[in-house]
């Protein structure tokens, strides 16, 4: 067999690849799967809001409660009120779609703001923000949420707002860390010296060039967390409330019958959660290694 050097010697012509072939297959698969999930989510959101559903998710059927998948036209069976699981799964995503966005955007916006203030301005800002972050960090989160819920009402938006807020410190310190790093490499000073307007430095050079991957990952993780948090709350009875379906309260109400052997009513939504969250996590991973250009062999 020839050695690669011989081969390399023979090969004169060089061809450039289309971009999708430049990256590691694994990453592309991850991102692909992630995007698939995202599209599914969006699709079912649209289906739900346009009301193009196999059945009415609110239609009760007291004769056919906790039916296993496939029973009389219920593709995924029925829940504890004989409502169609499939329809409710599809509508269920609405519980997370916009609220999740809210949580994420709150976390990202405030987070970046704080982060930039702390890292870029530093000094007093930094101290105040670190304090606020630590403050948020040191709360028993679930208890906090319960009290907030009590004060207002068990509304998914309220919950997600809190979730978003509690994630601000993470993003903030990430961005701050990045900025400190850039500072010590004197990139920022260089920009300032070159008279680049602060806005450009922060928005373009710092956030766009150096923080986008962080932010994207945080976004994907944020969505995943939003879903899990709602599920946990549902278990305690404070998640999205009936009759509005959410994957969380579906798992919860189904789980009451798990020990009694009716396996599906809780498993189906649980799997939905699993695949979705997995999707977001992998999307994050893939995008990360693509944006950071991490090489694998």
């Amino acid at each position: 067999m020839k050695t690669y050097t011989q081969i390399a010697g023979e090969i004169g012509e060089v061809s450039s690849l289309p971009f999708w072939k430049r990256y590691d297959v694994v990453d592309l698969v991850y991102v692909g799967y992630g995007l698939l999930i995202v599209t599914l989510v969006v699709a079912s959101y649209l289906l739900g809001s346009l009301n193009l559903l196999p059945r009415d998710p609110q239609e009760l059927n007291l004769e056919l409660m906790m039916a296993p998948p496939g029973t009389s036209g219920h593709l995924l069976g029925t829940d504890f009120m004989g409502r169609d699981m499939l329809a409710r799964l599809i509508v269920g995503i609405q519980a997370y779609f916009l609220p999740g966005m809210l949580a994420i955007s709150v976390a990202l916006l405030l987070g970046t703001l704080f982060g930039v203030l702390a890292g870029y301005r530093g000094g007093r800002f930094d101290r105040v923000i670190t304090y606020v972050n630590n403050l948020i960090d040191s709360f028993p989160r679930l208890v906090l949420i319960l009290l907030v819920i009590a004060a207002f009402k068990p509304d998914i938006y309220v919950i997600m707002l809190v979730v978003g807020l509690t994630n601000v410190p993470v993003v903030a310190s990430l961005v701050k860390g990045k900025i400190l790093f850039l500072r010590e490499k004197n990139f920022i000073e260089a920009d300032i010296a070159l008279g680049v307007p602060a806005g450009t430095i922060i928005l373009k050079h710092i956030l766009w060039h150096n923080c986008r991957s962080i932010l994207i990952i945080q976004a994907t993780l944020g969505m995943a967390e939003a879903i899990l948090m709602e599920t946990s709350l549902s278990y305690l009875g404070f998640g999205v409330q009936e009759p509005t379906p959410s994957w969380g309260n579906m798992v919860q109400s189904g789980a009451n019958y798990l020990m009694r052997g009716s396996f599906w009513p809780s498993t189906t939504p649980a799997l939905a959660i699993l695949f979705t969250i997995l999707g977001f996590h992998l999307l994050g991973d893939g995008l990360n290694s693509i944006l950071e250009g991490r090489k694998r062999v």
């Binding site: 050695t3 690669y4 050097t5 081969i7 390399a8 090969i11 012509e13 060089v14 061809s15 690849l17």
Partner: protein, 366 residues
């Protein structure tokens, strides 16, 4: 100066596979060098000419990523002889379809293990290296003292902690670090770049290796410090008789320290020979590229002759698709019509035109 070759590099090729371009970047392409005991070889060339990669290849530090090496590197020193590149090919396989490289599979862990075995007892003991930007090359989490002591103890068996420490201190003193005992417990961040480089030197020489590879030891330091480091190297060289492979783009430094010189361009050696024949002031250096380099350094002579400094026109060579002919052809300003044909078509080989003085240029071959 004995003529016995300490390190001899034959036809060294270090390629990196570019996934995007689906081709090899031929950073080092057919390089041959020899360093004799106690000799100082200066490797000069503009950045991107493959100097550092050559050095790293010799150290066996081209492991992670798609880097692959071939050729032969032989190292012979007090009795032991090693061939660093022995059957590394085993760990690499290349897929090609119609003249294109589809992918390069490299079993990194196995490769590393193998290199580890090959270099066992050599790295740090017989072969030491100092790098550019010394600050980040020192482990920021341990005191410099510990780092030096570690190096010493690794390679001198049966030495007690205390002896090692004493020796480390001695070395710190020797590389002219003031109040070594205080410094000993410093972490690198407490030190200036210059000091860090001194520490690196101390660490490298602590086990009296037979060859020291200094990769751009002065870049990134300010001028005065540069001078100091160079002095230090010169001094140590004469004291220890350690062979040095000095890599720099700064001809001044090379001229100052090197016994012999190799000029690299586009991943290969274009001229090599005794320093006096090549980089000394009134040496008539042969290869057009070398000439250009010489012309580009500020010296009274240059200033006197042509009022202003010359820069070399044209860009650094693209090491992916290397032209069939002479690599310097595109930028060469001495091509005569007689040889233009050859220059463009066929790459010249490295020929001896005077004792121990080789040039890779059609101008001198007939």
């Amino acid at each position: 100066m004995t003529n016995e070759a300490l390190l001899s590099v034959e036809g060294l090729r270090t390629y990196f596979f570019s996934r995007g371009k689906r081709a090899f970047i031929r950073s080092v392409d057919d390089v041959s060098l020899t360093i004799a005991q106690g000799e100082t070889l200066g490797v000069v060339g503009e950045s991107g000419s493959g100097k550092s990669i050559t050095a790293l290849s010799v150290m066996g530090l081209i492991s992670d990523g798609p880097g692959v090496i071939s050729g032969s590197i032989k190292f012979k020193s007090n009795g032991m002889e090693r061939a660093f590149l022995q059957d590394l090919d085993r760990f690499v396989s290349v897929e090609t379809t119609e003249g294109r490289i589809m992918s390069v599979k490299k079993d990194v862990p196995a490769w590393d293990r193998h290199v580890g075995q090959l270099m066992d007892g050599i790295r740090g003991r017989e072969l030491a290296m100092i790098f550019q930007n010394p600050k980040s090359s020192l482990n920021p989490f341990t005191t410099i003292g510990k780092q030096i002591t570690e190096a010493i103890r690794l390679h001198s068996d049966g030495m007690t902690e205390q002896e090692a420490k004493e020796r480390a201190l001695a070395w710190l003193d020797r590389v002219k670090i003031d109040s070594p005992r205080l410094r000993f417990d410093n972490h690198p961040y407490g030190l200036s770049g210059g000091m860090c480089q001194r520490v690196m030197v101390a660490m490298a020489l602590a086990c009296e290796p037979s060859l020291l590879i200094a990769d751009e030891p002065t870049t990134g330091l300010d001028a005065t410090i540069q001078a100091k480091i160079v002095d230090l190297l010169a001094e140590l060289k004469s004291e220890l008789g350690t062979a040095i492979m000095l890599i720099s783009h700064d001809i001044g430094i090379i001229a100052r320290l090197a016994d012999s010189v190799a000029v690299m361009y586009g991943g290969t050696v274009v001229e090599s020979g005794p320093a006096r024949d090549i980089v000394t002031r009134n040496a008539a250096s042969k290869h057009p590229y070398t000439a250009a380099l010489m012309a580009s350094i500020p010296s009274e002579r240059n200033i006197r002759e042509k009022k202003q400094l010359q820069a070399i026109e044209g860009d650094v060579l693209d090491t992916i698709n290397i032209p069939a002919g002479c690599r310097f052809f595109a930028r060469c300003n001495q091509v005569t019509d007689g040889i233009r044909e050859k220059c463009e078509r066929r790459e010249p080989d490295l020929r001896e035109i005077a004792p121990r003085h080789r040039v890779r240029c059609w101008l001198y071959f007939e």
